[in-house]
């Protein structure tokens, strides 16, 4: 167990600044999820911590120790990638035991057996231990690669979109499993994804990256309810926050350029008229696509609403966010 500290990490690739003086602390026992679209710098950050790549400037500390010049093998970390790479000629048991057989560790055989058994139990793959790795389903293979990280009991776990290649149902199951493994073991996780549901449901802290800069760090609820900017606000929430001209519903605070409305910030049945352009039924909820003078608004309503395209609904903001011309959120 250990904390991770990044101090003013900068990494350039030619003309592109992939990371721009990023400072970030992952507290001991925290589950930090880095969120951002392709190219935001998530994976580069992870590679700095793992030692797969080195920063042009800045320092990485794990458990208070500088990692400068240390190879990945010397850092006591475990990594899980999107593409599970198991040894195809080995059984599940041999795959799980492999990291413990490293000459650096010299783990006695009975300890290896005990650890493999415990991890297999946690991940519910005990009955597959003697199977060849190739005889597993995708979800099972990803469990084995997570298991291979767990047996080592490293100081920190680094995960790069480990669930992205799995189908939706399996992803939902593994989300809960990973979260409970992390919570029960008290391990430190640094996890990269572009899936906001993963970020919201698993993270103790979310770090929002935008073109190589860390723009906000906080609990999922903080990012969702008190985003620093339009960019941060747009990372979480489905349907996405509606960004509209500040004065669309009447007078706006001085300096406000945009009003930001999530579905729960729109009350229906009073206010100004909007036209229903589309009704999208998702089962548990129905999304209403509305229009006010050429501005599109998406909100949610009762699953069995009688509204149809062409109907009129009055809507009004309820505790909205206001943003200035630079997209920075203004104090309420």
């Amino acid at each position: 167990m250990a904390d991770i500290r990044l101090e003013k990490i900068t990494r350039r690739f030619g003309d592109v600044t992939a990371l721009d003086a990023v400072s970030l602390t992952v507290p001991d026992g925290a589950f930090v999820v880095l969120l951002g679209p392709t190219g935001a710098g998530k994976t580069t950050t992870l590679r700095m911590v793992s030692g797969l790549d080195a920063p042009d400037a800045g320092d990485v500390f794990i458990g208070g120790e500088s990692m400068n010049g240390l190879t990945p093998a010397q850092r006591n970390i475990a990594m899980v990638f999107q593409q599970y790479s198991l040894y195809p000629h080995l059984t599940v048991r041999e795959n799980l035991a492999f990291p413990l057989k490293s000459p650096l560790l010299r783990t006695p055989k009975d300890q290896i057996d005990a650890k493999v058994a415990a991890v297999a139990e946690t991940l519910q793959i005990s009955h597959k231990l003697e199977n060849k790795a190739t005889a597993l389903s995708g979800g099972e293979m990803q469990r084995v690669s997570i298991g291979r990280a767990l047996v080592r009991e490293p100081s920190v776990y680094l995960m790069d979109e480990p669930l992205s290649s799995l189908d939706a149902k399996l992803r939902a199951d593994l989300r809960i499993e990973l979260k409970s493994i992390q919570a029960n073991s008290g391990a430190t996780f640094l996890y990269v994804t572009h899936d906001q549901i993963e970020a919201m449901t698993m993270a103790t802290h979310v770090g929002v990256l935008d073109e190589g800069k860390l723009v906000q760090m906080g609990t999922p609820r903080e990012i969702y309810e008190q985003p620093v900017s339009i960019y941060a606000a747009s990372r979480l929430g489905q349907p996405r926050i509606n960004i509209l001209p500040a004065d669309l519903f009447g007078r706006a605070p001085f300096g406000a350029k945009f009003i930001g409305l999530r579905p729960e910030q729109i009350s229906q049945g009073r206010g100004i008229d909007s036209t229903v352009t589309r009704v999208e039924r998702l089962g548990d909820q129905t999304r209403l696509h509305l229009a006010i003078h050429n501005h599109d608004i998406i909100t949610v309503t009762d699953a069995h609403t009688g509204l149809t395209s062409g109907d009129t609904v009055a809507i009004a903001p309820k505790n909205p966010h206001f943003f200035d011309a630079h997209g920075v959120r203004m104090p309420a």
Binding site: D167, A168, K169, A172, K179, Y224, G283, Q285, A303
Partner: protein, 365 residues
């Protein structure tokens, strides 16, 4: 534009039966989803409609004409794959017009149709560009353009958005749907993503192990699943299943689970033995006076709503409630279930018992 009808279609690959006996109808102009997990037979079904596979038995009708044994080129359909293959040495315009040239359409007509398609897709300004430098979205649009330009009777799409990342996928899904709304062409779309199916489809077929489990309007299937498989496959999180032993008779309007008595829609079918009570997470509220009790295992914050997982004596129950309601992990809570929404299933077969509420939906699927 076309109606497509599948009748008792079966497909065997050696000993393996990919599709057992499918029957359903796709109406003219519908956006039709084939939904199911990998290996369920949805892609095989689509490939048989397209003529890329021949059915082992059964009939396929396109606009009333039986085409089951005809080749793909004789069916007047267009296929869009997950990996959009473009001709790398041709520019965008040439890629789109290629199918017309190969059919010998006159040059003036080709130009008119390419222009029309480009304006539908909003890609007029890139017609002269090579396809090499295009963004993923534009490549996808070009691939669609090549399908649209032939003005086929129907479009078949096999997970066309599968390779895209979440944000872009959502955007393309909306674009595809509104494109369909403008053109009104019959579209058959294969996906394993239930949200995509709910979001885009006029109708859904849910398949599992080569069998059509249910077929109908998305919201109706979601509300009134014919089987536990459908109830579990649609919805995220899926329907909760409370398993118990007991009996229910025609005319019953309540069931007993242990100490709790719960109201249910009036039952038409009865059953004795293993029963499963199915309820969607959004129909479970957390209230102190709830007759079903349990311990909170976890809460998952989702912004607008949260998912609360409660351990009851009949299994885990997930509840979707507003995010601003405070629920403590490990606390003891009561659950209130909206009786109008319940479905009872036979535990052994997974088939729904008919009630006054679901009979209408189950009779046409």
């Amino acid at each position: 534009m076309a109606q497509i009808r599948i009748e008792n279609v079966r497909k065997d690959f050696g000993d393996f039966t990919a599709v057992q006996s499918s029957t359903f109808t796709i109406e003219d102009g519908e956006f039709f989803m084939l939904l199911g997990p990998s290996g369920c037979g949805k892609t095989t079904t689509l490939r048989m409609m397209a003529g890329l596979e021949l059915p082992t038995s059964g009939d396929i009708y396109i606009d009333g004409e039986e085409v089951g044994q005809k080749r793909a080129s004789e069916r007047d359909i267009a296929f869009v794959f997950q990996m959009f293959a473009l001709y790398p040495h041709m520019n965008v315009g040439k890629n789109i017009s290629y199918p017309l040239f190969s059919q010998g359409v006159p040059k003036a007509e080709v130009k008119r149709r390419v222009d029309e398609v480009a304006s539908i897709l909003g890609i007029q300004d890139i017609l002269q560009k090579p396809v090499g430098g295009l963004s993923g979205g534009d490549r996808q649009r070009v691939a669609l353009g090549r399908a649209i330009v032939r003005e086929p009777k129907a479009f078949f799409m096999d997970e066309p958005l599968g390779a895209l990342d979440a944000e872009f996928r959502e955007h393309m899904a909306e674009e595809l749907r509104s494109l369909h709304d403008r053109m009104g062409a019959t579209t058959v779309y294969v996906t394993h993503d239930q949200l995509e199916a709910m979001q885009m489809g006029d109708k859904i077929v849910v398949m599992n192990h080569g069998v059509v489990e249910q077929f109908g309007v998305p919201q109706e299937i979601y509300d009134w699943p014919a089987t536990m498989f459908v109830a579990n496959f649609l919805g995220s999180p899926p329907m909760n299943f409370l398993e118990y032993d007991g009996s229910v008779s025609p005319g019953d309007t309540q069931v007993r689970l242990g100490d709790a008595t719960l109201a249910v829609p009036e039952q038409i079918e009865g059953h004795r033995g293993g029963l499963v009570l199915g309820v969607r997470p959004e129909h479970v509220r957390i209230e102190d006076n709830g007759s079903l009790r349990g311990k909170v295992l976890a809460t998952e914050y989702l912004g607008t709503t949260q998912i609360v997982t409660v351990q009851t004596q009949f299994g885990e129950v997930k509840s979707r409630i507003d995010a601003d309601i405070a629920v403590k992990t490990s606390s003891n809570v009561g659950l209130v279930i909206d009786e109008r929404t319940l479905t009872l299933f036979r535990a052994q077969t997974g088939a729904a018992l008919r009630s006054s509420s679901n009979a209408g939906v189950l009779s046409h699927g």
